[in-house]
């Protein structure tokens, strides 16, 4: 029984090596040299524990809301990182869910991620040649990405993130490429990703660009202001905005409820 469970996991979790690149330095991040760790990629949504996912949101300082409240320290406010139940709902209704795990001991401990190649013992060498199987229960969730699709024409990618110590090692790109591959495998080529200014370079590096058809991205932001009179339809708090719910208006001609 244990063997078959491991088999299921090893089928769904693929070993990949994440390595630092010696290429360009980012001004504020010191360069890391020669760091290479095994990570495990899974496309099975049930491998993602909503609690771990929430922790990942916190580590990556991201929110499920497009306009979260941000505190003076620059961190997303606790209340705007979604609850575990809602995360489970979102996972259940995402067409593609990609998660990346690593062994907790491989996670760089230093805040700024500087890590030198550890002095190799035989044990370490063996681990590099045959990395032990990591399960969703033993591994640490370090990367995530998902897509929502109508499984026919279009898809949207959301919430791609990697823990800061392991960023710039190709994990994010691995996640996006896997999502795209799964979608194109289902014959969906119209793949969109909503991204902020900070994410643009990342998605460009993943092969995304401005819309060929020249469409304008728009989001519903009509909110209640102090002087607003039409709040009769109600409003909804979404992040830092109080979005106005359009009222159910009587049409200019008569309208009636049809009994069917």
């Amino acid at each position: 029984m244990a063997a078959s469970v491991r088999f299921c996991f090893s089928k769904a979790m693929e070993l990949r090596w994440a390595t630092t690149k010696t290429a360009k330095n980012i001004p504020n991040k010191p360069a890391r040299v020669g760091l290479s760790i095994p990570v495990y990629l899974s496309t099975n949504p049930s491998h993602v524990n909503p609690g771990s996912l929430r922790d990942l949101f916190v580590s990556c300082n991201r929110s499920c809301h497009a306009f979260p409240r941000i505190g003076p320290d620059g961190r997303v406010e606790e209340g705007d990182i979604a609850g575990v139940d809602k995360l489970r709902v979102a996972l259940d209704h995402s067409s593609v869910v990609v998660s990346v795990f690593c062994e907790p001991r491989d996670l760089p401990v230093d805040g700024d991620g500087i890590e030198e190649q550890r002095a190799s013992s035989v044990g370490d060498l063996m681990r590099r040649v045959v990395p032990p199987a990591v399960t969703p229960y033993s591994g640490q969730l370090v990367g995530f990405g998902r897509a929502v699709s109508d499984n026919g024409l279009t898809a949207s990618i959301y919430d791609v993130m990697v823990v800061p110590p392991l960023q710039r090692m190709g994990i994010g790109r691995m996640i996006v490429q896997r999502i795209v591959r799964i979608l194109t495998g289902k014959d969906i080529y119209d793949i969109a990703a909503l991204c902020s200014d900070d994410d643009r370079l990342f998605f460009e590096a993943c092969g995304f660009g401005d819309d060929i058809l020249g469409s304008t991205t728009m989001m519903y932001t009509r909110a209640i202001t102090g002087s607003s009179t039409d709040g009769s339809g109600g409003f909804r708090r979404v992040g830092r905005k109080l979005l106005l719910v359009p009222t159910f208006k009587e049409f200019h001609s008569q309208s009636r409820i049809r009994n069917s």
């Binding site: 809602k86 200014d197 020249g214 932001t221 109600g234 719910v245 309208s255």
Partner: protein
């Protein structure tokens, strides 16, 4: 009797003590809550909770046994959201009702039931000049959308009874969503001969309403340059706070 109540009846006999009926076919309370035996008492209190949850359970049992019973089994009403008045949107309602020059009446019917004929949709897309898309993909997209809102025009010739109706698809809008945070509105279209009456606005507003009522707050869409102003009037903002949509480019 609905099948799910049948499942409840087939519960293990240990949970439900032997039932006895008095002459009127009413269940006797004596056997429901047996006294004396300690185990029975515990079981009874647990059962009591169950009965409270499904108050109509015994109604269904009773209605099944009594002949000519007119008890109607009604599902418990869906819990309304706390606080605000629940302006719950009926699934189908008439937006406009008018009389045409030739005396016929026309109703514009809004529906969020998602009942769309793919061929009707295809010809509507042709009318607005959109490129053709494979029908099977279109059907799959409709089926897997979170919500599909449609507008149909129903024309009744003058002086005829209900039998002579013409129902035509004249508008549609759909949204995909993860049911929790994000939604994207796709494919908003209205028949050119019905444009300019606020129908497109009604379609989109009702989608937004339905989404926000379920706390789905990130509502996005990708607008052609010609309709950016239309969506701005509905409360949408272009590239809000620098959020842009990027699209995947296949590499050869």
């Amino acid at each position: 009797m609905p099948s799910r109540y049948l499942l409840a009846v087939a519960a293990p006999s240990s949970l439900f003590p032997a039932l006895s009926f008095d002459s009127h076919g009413q269940l006797s309370n004596q056997t429901l809550f047996p006294r004396g035996s300690g185990q029975g008492f515990v079981r009874a209190s647990r059962n009591l909770k169950v009965y409270r949850l499904k108050a109509n359970f015994w109604d269904t049992i009773r209605s099944g046994f009594l002949k000519n019973n007119t008890t109607q089994i009604v599902d418990p009403p869906p819990t309304l959201e706390e606080g605000e008045e629940a302006q719950k949107l009926p699934e189908e309602f008439v937006l406009i009702e008018r009389t045409l020059p030739d005396g016929a009446t026309e109703e514009i019917l809004f529906s969020s039931g998602g009942d769309v004929d793919v061929y009707d949709l295809q010809s509507l897309c042709d009318k607005v000049g959109w490129p053709r898309r494979p029908l099977s993909k279109l059907a799959a997209a409709l089926k897997n959308s979170y919500m599909v809102a449609t507008l149909h025009a129903i024309q009744k010739s003058p002086g005829s009874s209900d039998g002579n109706e013409q129902k035509k698809l004249i508008g549609m809008a759909r949204a995909t969503s993860d049911h929790a945070f994000n939604a994207t509105i796709w494919d908003v279209l209205v028949d050119p001969s019905y444009q300019g009456q606020g129908l497109g606005k009604a379609l989109v507003e009702n989608l937004i309403r339905a989404l926000l009522q379920r706390d789905i707050g990130n509502i996005s869409l990708f607008a052609d340059s010609k309709v950016v102003e239309f969506y701005q009037n509905l409360g949408f903002e272009a590239d809000p706070e620098g959020i842009k949509g990027m699209f995947w480019y296949p590499k050869y």
